[in-house]
Symmetry: D2
Subunit: 375 residues, 4 copies
């Protein structure tokens, strides 16, 4: 088994499963990557870890994530625990020389994220953050279309990311409503994904003005003991200025009925426009001011093998990638980076930039002032 | 011909024609309204007025709009001239006791609009401003759905209005680029329509922060003499707070390639969501958190005779109203208001509120400060 | 009033109103056409005719359509009565030398339609049939795209036309269910429109095999006296072969819940595809196998002034024509034909070809045999 | 390793890879299934088999598929070779007591398929055919909506399946164009999928009339030696009658530019309608004639955890399954059937019914006669 990369995975929930599935299939899908060995799955209680290790195909189960630190056969650790736990785990894993694939956001506070980023940078391990949507082949197409000036020079940007998991006012209060436990609300859960896409399309955001709101200010306590306060935001919006001079706006809500994963953007350019909506993740909209005026219109481009790495999943266009396939592309990025001794994208350094923006939106919303994003 | 309302129309361009067509057909479409008499059409030069009077079916042509002031057989005058001319015309028409249907925006500056509003209010004539989109039967449906709590309590709002008539950087400079002649840019042309819809859905905006940008800073002079400066904005956006406590955002661009009339909004509610896009003006999207979860989804409601006054145009659903039909509904509102001695909606007083918002966005964009909209 | 064309209109219902509105506005919209004079509106009882004449702006009302035959000031007569009455009216009007705009289908039987066509052809009057959908500017765009080989050579065709006005099994029985009164069912109401579009795109249909079905075999009698038989078809479909060698299929239903006016087609070509749906009548879908593969996709072209005669209604693209505007374009075709002493399209001769197809579908459905359409 | 099911896979192409990926992940996704062991991967030449065995994670490679027959550790064999080879392989595998997951269509001729079906039925092994689209959670939702009478009684059906892999007339001739090698054209590649969906929704088809066409009659030989004949059909259509009395139509093309996987259907019911398009495979359209008329419309239901087994892939709605996930659901069906000693769906017996239909369409197209599908 020499040459293979041993995997530790902390967490067996929503994201934990996507990591497990990605590790299982990345080599078979992509070829040409170092093989992986599913070594240890960590969760609590132990019975849970054991059950899921059997299901996911890990060799071992553990209820002590620190056991991964000293296991020489483990090279990569995925951190998919609640965000509050990321920092401690990541710092110790980095210190132990492990490569780390950490779900987003990196941490509850910008200070914690910065500490993680500094540690990773210093240690020289490979890190990857779970900004899966920038791995979509049609997102890469969007980037290429911009790079190739197909829509000319970008002149304006709009982005939204909405879900409805907190739309129902009658949903009970949970720890997710408490800043100490959850940090930001929709900005941390959803907004940072949008920022990752904005960066990928237009580069850094220089300054912004934000506003935010807790639309359901209290929620019934699950034990029937009255109502608990919702401390973090349900909606947030910002007017942004990119470093390249483009203006734009961002908006996010976790209380948007009917939206299940509406992570959408428009890039307005001097010669055309690109639009995307993750709820139709295999489609990219492109308008070009070219050809006969009478025949101009928005084109719906269906993902296909012309849009790498779609072809690794399926040789036929329009057959659709799914969400879990994006995690496979992430895993390939991680393994490739390790194999080639390069940094992965987006690593902690890149992710820190995204997370600066969501915290700046929150700060601006609190103070009313325009915030300049630190370099 | 006693009992009929005599019409004067100033302007024979884009909007002038829509007014003429609306006057011609409103009685035939709606029934039950005072008959109209197409009396005098004004434009310059006289030959133009004469030609279009023949085409539109006016009894007389004139190159002197002031001739309308003293014509006792003219009761209503439509003002569809360039915005710069609205104020002078409206003030004199009001002073002459004419009812006035004035295209939007009312004026280049808020001060001028306020002066027009005060004059109209004092004179007691009926006024109507050309905010045609709020006359769409499916917009009225949206208002009713909100009023009936079908989507619960509104919690968030988003709106956009985009066209691409200034998207091409190579388009020559025109007077529309000069503030003295044109006033605001996209905010005046497009943004005020969006505000009219936001008001119709959620009521007054209390305060806002805005940003705006001239994305094509100069344009080639038509005579080849270098480049002229574009003084007004191509894009503008704002974070708004409604008086009812809801937050939201507005954004507009006249340089958005591919958008031809994308006047769109989302109203997020505590029980559902409503979405609309004028480019598919016969459709309203509705999501309700009701019924089996497995069967929930956004519904596309096609305009039909259940959505008054659609049935006056066509007894069969889904057969589509067009833009010009909206002007017929406006005309019906005007004639009905005169007939019933009530105010029309949106009259100068209502329109002034919309126009306060676009000027506030521009002011906030210039100063960086949050603007509170005056009562 | 010399030089103007006097209009008689028989019928004040759904189609009658569309004709009245079209006559009222066609000159104002289009310019350059002979003026019209709304002379006499016929309906029964007389009070109804009188009321609607006032609303629609006709000079006179009558409950005797034959009064039109001898009125020398009436040049054109619109026939918008129940289909059963078309033949008698058209034949007498033609014999009286009137130009005739007759709603579709021309008649209940093919024999009657053929008799009407022969009479019109012999008499040399101008006729026009109410196939409004082929007047859509984006339908003309589709025809031009085919003519210019933008999608190469057509290789396949599919078309559908569905509504839901007979979808509810509990709707009461009406005369529309009786062949003697109504003739064909969905084929006559809807199917012939689809055929008109198929012809306009690909030319004559040479032969076909059809099937049809009455899905709601009986309906409750309105007087509560049990159930009445539905004699004509709710659905009908056909496999067709065009004279140019292309195969295709047609299908129609008047019992298709949710479809309000889904008159849709696909033209598959050797280099691309064109798709259309009347429920989004301002859009045409175009796919071209050209340019980079990675950027190919279906384009949504929004109707605009590049698509004549859209610009006569509105100078701005994407602002939407409506159903009634299509009738204005029909009226312009009629007036232009009379003015230029040419035939209008589709006249009785063209329409007879469309109606041969729907009767052939019904005949094939009854006999099971392939039907060759007579020349 | 006792208790696990050993897998042999023949073929490493498009479908071969999907089977490999499905086997790799089905246990991890679903839980509660017998574990699988990826034993032997067969392809030629051996180097290819060896390379792909390494990539896909099989223990052994072979260029002799018959080696699987006698391997006692292999319990299931996937047959993903060219269709021409299915019969021989399946018959020998069945005779050897292996469970068989065979790609569709089962065979080039109906006789061969019938022979395979009889062998499987007699032998009592579990078989599964690769009709992946009926495994889509939203397809199951469609079935449930019909079963629960949400759209009332079905009254009409329409289905299409189009791709464009043979749309370009300049594509070179291949063996796929020769009946001896490939059997049917688009009916075998695509049409049988549509039939599987029609059956799943409305049950057996009783009789039909078909038509078909080779739109590109010859293709350039790859060696430049002139043109070769295309023997099988590019398009095929049929008017069908289901055993339950419903009429409908089917149509398929492999030469439909822009269509990448447009496998779409409409089920018209007495109370509503259901529509689906595989190019947006995570969406189901539902119209119900219920609630206020003014609020009726087609609903777009996004796949989510309410639609089993979506939740096994992702706990969050709207995050999208992909094509390869459908193969995982197929694999789960196969393993579950073996585990529970029941037949899988669709097994060879079910698939034979689907394939009867495509051959009947071809036969009817050749003879012109209505074909009754044998029991």
């Amino acid at each position: 088994m020499s040459g293979s990369l041993g995997i530790g995975l902390i967490g067996t929930g929503y994201m934990g499963k996507t990591h497990a599935l990605a590790y299982r299939n990345v080599h078979a899908v992509m070829g040409g990557l170092p093989p992986v060995r599913l070594k240890t799955l960590c969760d609590t209680p132990f019975a849970k870890a054991e059950e899921m290790a059997a299901q996911f195909g890990f060799e071992a189960a553990s209820d002590d994530w620190r056991s991964l630190l000293t296991d020489p056969e483990i090279h990569i650790v995925s951190v998919t625990t609640p965000n509050k736990l990321h920092k401690e785990m990541a710092l110790e894993l980095i210190a132990a020389g492990k490569h780390v694939w950490c779900e987003k956001p990196m941490a509850l506070t910008l200070e914690d994220a910065a500490e993680m980023e500094a540690a990773a940078r210093t240690a020289g391990v490979v890190t990857l953050t779970g900004y899966n949507y920038v791995k979509n082949p049609v997102f890469k197409l969007a980037q290429e279309l911009i790079a190739e000036c197909v829509i000319g020079t970008p002149v304006h940007f709009r982005g939204w990311v909405d879900e409805d998991y907190q739309a129902d006012p009658d949903l009970p209060w949970t720890w997710r409503a408490r800043i100490e436990d959850a940090g930001l609300g929709t900005l941390g859960d959803l907004g940072c994904h949008l920022v990752s896409m904005a960066y990928g399309l237009l580069g850094p955001i220089e300054s912004l003005i934000g506003d935010m709101q807790t639309v359901h200010a209290t929620r019934p306590m699950p034990d029937g003991s009255g109502h608990g306060e919702v401390e973090n935001e349900d909606t947030a919006s910002a007017l942004v200025r990119f470093a390249n001079g483009v203006q734009g706006s961002l908006s996010t809500s976790r209380s948007a009925w009917g939206r299940k994963n509406r992570l959408a953007f428009e890039v307005h350019g001097s010669k055309g426009m690109i639009c995307f909506d993750q709820e139709r993740m295999n489609e990219l909209q492109l308008y070009e001011n070219s050809g006969p005026k009478a025949q101009q219109g928005f084109k719906t481009i269906l993902a296909g093998p012309e849009h790498a790495p779609y072809g690794h999943f399926c040789p036929a266009a329009g057959h659709q990638l799914g969400f879990n396939d994006l995690k496979v592309i992430e895993a390939a990025e991680l393994l490739g980076a390790i194999d080639e001794s390069r940094s992965a994208y987006p690593d902690f350094t890149a992710a820190l930039e995204f997370e600066k923006v969501i915290h700046a939106i929150a700060e601006s919303a609190r103070t009313g002032a325009r915030i300049t994003i630190g370099g």
